[in-house]
């Protein structure tokens, strides 16, 4: 990655060219409204597979709304409507034939506050499998163990699988929620400020985890924390007032932003 960047002329890179591979997700001229409020304005972007993309921007800039477009979580808001196209793996996810449940199995989500179910640790991770109708106890136990190992929680909880998930610490709960998402074997993971409710040590362990997970998954993370975006993401998109102001390789955004607004935001002049 670093060598290719060095060889490139980093001053002016057209949006299309920052993508090295075939894109996992592509969005074309997307507008989102809540009633009369224009939350996202004509945003187009492409996201590469097996990368971490960070959405940054001040509160209310539309980044979470935009993220929730990807797994159709906005559908439950009655005043929500949109205009534009979004394709994941080349398929229109708002098409007439789209099965929302199937989409969400492919596009998992981790939320701002850890939200484990009031069930046992084991049942939390097994939930996604059970709702798919998987009954084979061996398969379920295997997947639960694998998922917990992937988030480095297995050693900590392997003797307490029957204990309530609510008894875990905040950081453990969030890792459990990530494991729960992984158990369904998604290919994209959306993370909506996953560390904002956690202490620095738990945050660091989640960040390590995100770094490892990108080998297998495409990760999109909304964050308020710019250090976090610079530490863990390959690409960064800066949103402001519903506009996608700048989208580029993370190191470029943080070292040589093209737009004044981006520079002001990352240098802490506003936001």
């Amino acid at each position: 990655m670093t060598t290719t960047t060095k060889n490139r002329k980093i001053e002016k890179i057209p949006q299309e060219n920052i993508l090295d591979n075939a894109s996992k997700i592509s969005i074309k001229e997307m507008d989102i409204w809540y009633g009369a409020f224009h939350a996202i304005k004509e945003v187009s972007m492409k996201i590469n597979p097996n990368t971490v993309t960070a959405f940054i921007g001040p509160s209310g800039c539309g980044k979470s709304t935009f993220l929730r477009l990807f797994n159709r979580m906005n559908d439950y808001i009655e005043s929500f409507h949109f205009d534009g196209k979004i394709k994941i793996d080349g398929k229109n996810i708002y098409g007439k034939k789209t099965n929302i449940e199937e989409l969400r199995k492919k596009v998992g989500m981790v939320f701002q506050k850890p939200n484990p179910f009031p069930k046992s640790i084991f049942e939390n991770v097994a939930y996604g499998l059970r709702i798919q109708g998987i009954k084979d106890k061996k398969i379920i136990a295997e997947r639960v163990e694998n998922s917990l190992k992937q988030v480095a929680l297995w050693e900590e909880v392997k003797n307490d699988l029957k204990k309530s998930a609510l008894a875990l610490s905040g950081g453990q709960q969030q890792r459990l929620c990530i494991a729960r998402t992984l158990a369904v074997q998604p290919s994209v993971i959306l993370m909506d400020e996953p560390t904002s409710a956690l202490d620095p040590i738990s945050t660091a362990s989640i960040e390590d985890l995100i770094f490892k997970l990108k080998e297998k998954y495409t990760i999109i993370i909304v964050t308020h924390n710019m250090q976090q975006a610079s530490r863990i993401s390959d690409y960064t998109a800066f949103f402001y007032m519903g506009n996608l102001v700048e989208y580029n390789k993370t190191e470029l955004i943080f070292t040589k932003p093209e737009k004044k607004q981006t520079e002001n935001y990352i240098s802490g002049k506003f936001g």
Partner: protein
């Protein structure tokens, strides 16, 4: 000025204590009259005899005959009210639009506001004939139609309180479930209902407690025959309808017949007291969980 404040406080205190005094008074009278009653009737007979015939020449005082009627009608009522009430609660919470919810809720509450004498009449003159058209052996007075109608009456207790319990489940759990590809139905039954189970239990207990104390419907539609039975097709008598029968008749004050209503009343009170305390206990535990 200070004196005036003090006087106002005392007056308010007095009114607040009236409710407590009334409860204490009721319990005292129930206890006092019941103790007198148990001086002439063996407490063992009272709890083990299965015949209740204080108004006949050959007197038996087995409260079980009335308890069975009460339990029978309440069980029928709750087996009608729980599935329907819970379905309504889930529908309102997970599926219905805000507009529809606003319209439906007041209508549901009307169910609880219909005078119970109307329900009793409805059970006797509409539900029973209808059930008889399906099952001709059903007697005119029976616990089945009284129980069903009582169940309809207590639907709002279950639906309204259960819906409150479902609404109290953090939105984040619903989102987590949807986010993993669960359908609304799966989310409702695998996440929402278990998470709201304590609140739903409270709603069921309060509904049962209401059913046990219900008088008019059973007095009109279930008959006046104290029988130790769990057959829903024959006439029975509940504790409440027995009390009505004696209170309206001419059992002379101070007689043993007269005192039976206090013993029966005390039994009823103990039932509802236990149920209400239990729901209070669950409510308290449940509040701790989400705060």
């Amino acid at each position: 000025m200070k004196l005036k404040e003090k006087i106002i406080e005392l007056i308010l205190q007095f009114f607040a204590s009236i409710t407590i005094l009334t409860t204490v008074g009721i319990i005292a009278v129930l206890l006092f009259e019941s103790i007198t009653f148990f001086r002439s009737v063996s407490i063992i007979d009272f709890f083990t005899d299965t015949q209740w015939t204080p108004l006949y020449s050959e007197k038996h005082f087995g409260i079980l005959a009335l308890v069975s009627g009460t339990v029978l009608t309440s069980v029928i009522a709750i087996s009608v009210a729980l599935p329907i009430g819970l379905t309504i609660a889930i529908y309102l919470n997970m599926y219905a639009s805000k507009e529809f919810k606003k319209t439906l809720k007041p209508f549901l509450e009307i169910l609880a506001a219909v005078p119970t004498v109307v329900y009793g009449f409805f059970a006797l003159s509409i539900v029973t004939p209808f059930l008889q058209s399906i099952y001709p052996n059903l007697e005119t007075f029976n616990s089945l139609s009284a129980g069903i109608v009582m169940g309809i009456m207590i639907i709002p207790f279950v639906s309204s309180l259960s819906e409150d319990a479902l609404s109290a489940v953090p939105k984040s759990l619903k989102e987590a479930s949807f986010g993993m590809g669960a359908t609304k139905f799966q989310t409702a039954f695998k996440v929402m209902v278990p998470a709201a189970s304590s609140g739903i239990t409270v709603s069921v207990i309060l509904a049962i407690s209401r059913a046990i104390g219900e008088t008019m419907i059973v007095a009109i539609a279930a008959g006046q025959q104290a029988t130790f039975t769990f057959n829903p097709t024959v006439p029975i008598q509940t504790i409440t309808s027995y009390i009505v029968q004696v209170s309206m008749g001419d059992a002379p004050q101070g007689s043993i017949e007269y005192r039976t209503i206090f013993a029966a009343g005390l039994t009823l009170f103990v039932f509802t007291f236990i149920l209400n305390s239990f729901s209070f206990y669950i409510k308290k535990k449940y509040q701790e969980k989400y705060e």
